[in-house]
Amino acid sequence: MDAPFPFGFPGPTTFYLVTYVLTLVSHVVFMNYVLAGTAVLLVRQIRGKAGTSDVLADLLRDWLPFALSAAITAGIAPLLFIQILYKKAFYTANLLLFHRWMLILPALIVGFYLLYAQKTAFVKARPRLRVLVTTGALATFLFTALSWTENYLLARNEGAWAPMYASKSMIYENREILPRMLLWTLGALPTLAALLGWQLHRRERAGAAVDKATFQRVARIGLGGLVVAGACAAGYAMLVGPAARAHAVGPMAMPWLAAALVGVVVEGVGFVGLHRAEANRGTWLGIASAGLFVVILGTTVVREVLRITAVDFAALYPEHARAAQVSGRWLFLGFFLVNAILAVWAIRTALTRAERPAV
């Protein structure tokens, strides 16, 4: 484990790790939009004045249900590969958290419907109800985030399994949980900012008027997110202990940590540019998005390295090797390509053939 991730593992293990990380990154993008978007929507609803229009709130209200659907759909693939990579640990954490864990399903269903409820005229017309509905949705997403954080940390800690089972507790107590959750939640803001920026940019290109202040607001969300998430990351690094810190700056994770830090700088430059720009906002958004991608990829890899080094990962190699003997990967890759082309075709059809609504 002295080589940079994903090198230094047997072929099958490397293959599943890479597949897992890449699919997880796509899930994280949508998840960030939902988590940060609901929080931003709530803040804007609380601070908003009655009768005034709010482009950001309108956008979020309109797109959050789809983003949640996309997050769930994108989350299925990493959920599949995590079972290959860490079967016993993942299953055990699920079992130990039991009802607490299973509650994320009804919670997400409720959250989903609350996002749809946001779009109804009934809720739109009632400011207090609007705030209540968004608060409910945010609570369900934060609960889901908390549960996943617990699941991840519990799966890493085999020593805690039997005592937790004996205690009948369905809550895993670990001092890393809240800071870690805070880090990931606040770290979602830059993703939201980049995606909102692209949505606004597209609107502008379609002929709708989007004022500079709205772009600046988005840039501030991104920059603010980078600052607070950075502070949380520093605090979290102090908390995890020397062993985990050493792995985070060890040979496996270091290149990715460095890449993530560079990504943060690039992202920051992009958001500052967006804040100042009078034109060419697409370029600044492109820079911010490139940085964002590197940050998400880098942090996801570091997260994975911390798990790999916390469990007896080498003992799992034979399982990965056996799973890799199963045929079907070319079938998957073939249909992945075909269906990706069809999906692009469907989106293009919808975007280019639909009559434009009156601006």
């Binding site: 699920n94 299973m102 399982e319 079907g328």
Partner: protein, 497 residues
């Protein structure tokens, strides 16, 4: 996956008993023990079965709904159904709100519930079919993308684009069924996979095609029934429009006429012993089979004679009733599919209590809970170590299908037996009831289990005698040896031969 002789699960050799070998997880890492949760009076199977039925119903609605809307859009484009578009937009919103939300999340829920019920089973399924599942995911993603494109932009699109998006949505949704159907049907009839380990031999297994056709027609029927309810309850449609739409929607019920044939095909493709549970061998399974068949028959007869031949109008109350019957048919069918696999979760590979045939042989020697790292919860409540051991054996071997005193409770099933009768029945469990797996433990563990059942049946007295008669252990050992470790249905087959 290539499999050599050492990985074959259960292979019949000429003139010898069943050779039981290793599969699923390497013997080098031993049996994976998982923490076992207590669902209280609810049987774990009921929890997963309940969610499964609900999910299947919604998933099939999503598939059939696509077929129905594509058909309506095509009719609209041909000028044959003027009110189709008005209906389609509303119907699709319902589909998105119900199926995309609850349907999608209950799908994830099936994974999570499967982990709660039997982590090894879902682990084996993922190990064997993860690329098939990943392929299915690409179709599901396409389904969601095409569906959302239609949902957001459908009202502003021309007919051709609408038809394209709906067609794409439907095709993707149906292929999602195609892939999942292969995995689910493999559990009951792994076919040639058992010998060769070839993925496609397992995927295109003996029940694949009847199951696929049956589910396709069921999906169309469910969509038509939901459509009937939506149409009859829609205030924006005129009566004539409703009648025309109802008649067109009912055309999707016509393939139900083939369901008896497909059902028979499916039944005859099942293993003989599984078929016998359904057709009278197990009252519960026979009852659910009757429920499924009866409800389907009622819906089918009403559809063909009432809706298609006589073109009757139905109000929302009748439509609701038909939909409830459709749900009952789904519930009956899914219960039978789940139950007919007994005593396995994956035929001849993994028993319903998540043990491989090979492991049973080992556990007869070394004990089933010797290496279980999870302590008993409330261990102090038990009167002695023997009952504690029995409780652990119950937890490991029985609790996946049984409760102590609730649904399918061991106290209800075995509480009135004498001690000797319990010892015999458990030692020869697969012969006592052929849909039960063989007991997988030492004579000491069996005796401990018997004492645990007796202690529970006696309302958990504070003091409870420890039994330690060597003659009893020797008798248990003889019974275990006589019973062997092969499944009970093989003995029945041999007797007939």
């Amino acid at each position: 996956m290539r499999r050599d002789a050492a990985t074959l699960p259960l292979k019949r050799a000429q003139g010898t008993p069943y050779i039981v070998l290793v599969i699923v997880e390497p013997s080098s890492i031993g049996v994976p023990y998982y923490p076992t949760n207590d669902f209280g009076p609810l049987m774990k199977g009921l929890v997963i079965g309940g969610l499964g039925i609900f999910h299947v119903f919604l998933a099939q609605f999503a598939i059939g709904g696509g077929v129905l809307m594509t058909y309506f859009e095509w009719l609209s484009g041909k000028g044959k159904l003027a009110s189709a578009r008005k209906f389609t937009s509303g119907y699709f919103k319902l589909l998105v709100l119900v199926s995309f939300v609850v349907g999608a999340l209950t799908g994830v829920g099936m994974w999570f519930t499967s982990i709660q019920t039997s982590p090894r089973t879902i682990g084996l399924m993922v190990d064997t079919f993860h690329w098939v599942w990943a392929t299915e995911w690409t179709f599901f993603a396409l389904e969601v993308i095409a569906g959302y494109c239609f949902y957001r932009y459908g009202d502003r699109l021309d007919g051709r684009s609408r038809l394209f998006l709906l067609g794409l949505y439907t095709t993707a949704a149906w292929f999602s069924l195609f892939w999942i159907n292969g995995i689910l049907s493999w559990q009951l009839t792994p076919g040639a996979w058992l010998e060769s380990g070839d993925l496609w031999a397992g995927f295109f297994n003996p029940t694949f095609w009847p199951s696929l056709f049956f589910r396709t027609f069921a999906a169309m029927a469910i969509a038509a029934l939901v459509a009937a309810l939506v149409i009859s309850a829609s205030p924006s449609l005129e009566r004539d429009e409703q009648k025309e739409l109802l008649h067109r929607a009912a055309q999707l019920l016509a393939p139900m006429a083939l369901m008896p044939l497909l059902g028979a095909w499916y039944l005859f493709a099942m293993p003989k012993d599984s078929r016998s549970w359904v057709l009278g061998g197990s009252p519960a399974m026979s009852m659910f089979f009757g429920l499924g068949a009866g409800a389907s028959l009622l819906v089918g007869l009403y559809a063909i004679f009432g809706l298609l031949l006589r073109r009757l109008y139905i109000n929302s109350a009748t439509a609701s009733l038909l939909l409830v019957l459709g749900f009952a048919a789904t519930a009956g069918g899914e219960f039978v599919r789940e139950g007919a696999r007994k005593p396995f979760t994956v035929r001849e590979t993994l028993y319903s209590n998540a043990m491989t045939p090979a492991e049973i042989v080992t556990m007869r020697e070394k004990g089933s809970v010797t290496g279980d790292p999870y302590p008993l919860r409330d261990a102090a409540d038990y009167p002695n170590d023997q009952v504690r051991l029995g409780a652990k054996v119950y937890r490991f071997q029985c609790s996946v299908c049984h409760t102590v005193g609730g649904v399918n409770g061991i106290v209800h099933l075995a509480g009135t037996w004498t001690a000797e009768q319990t010892r015999l029945n458990v030692a020869k469990l697969q012969h006592t009831k052929p849909f039960m797996p063989p007991f997988a433990g030492t004579p000491e563990e069996l005796e401990a289990l018997v004492r645990f059942i007796e202690w529970e049946s006696a309302s958990r007295p504070k003091d409870f005698e420890v039994t330690s008669d060597p003659a009893t252990r020797a008798q248990i050992k003889r019974w275990l040896d006589e019973a062997g470790t092969a499944p009970g249905y093989t003995t029945a087959a041999e007797k007939k031969r």
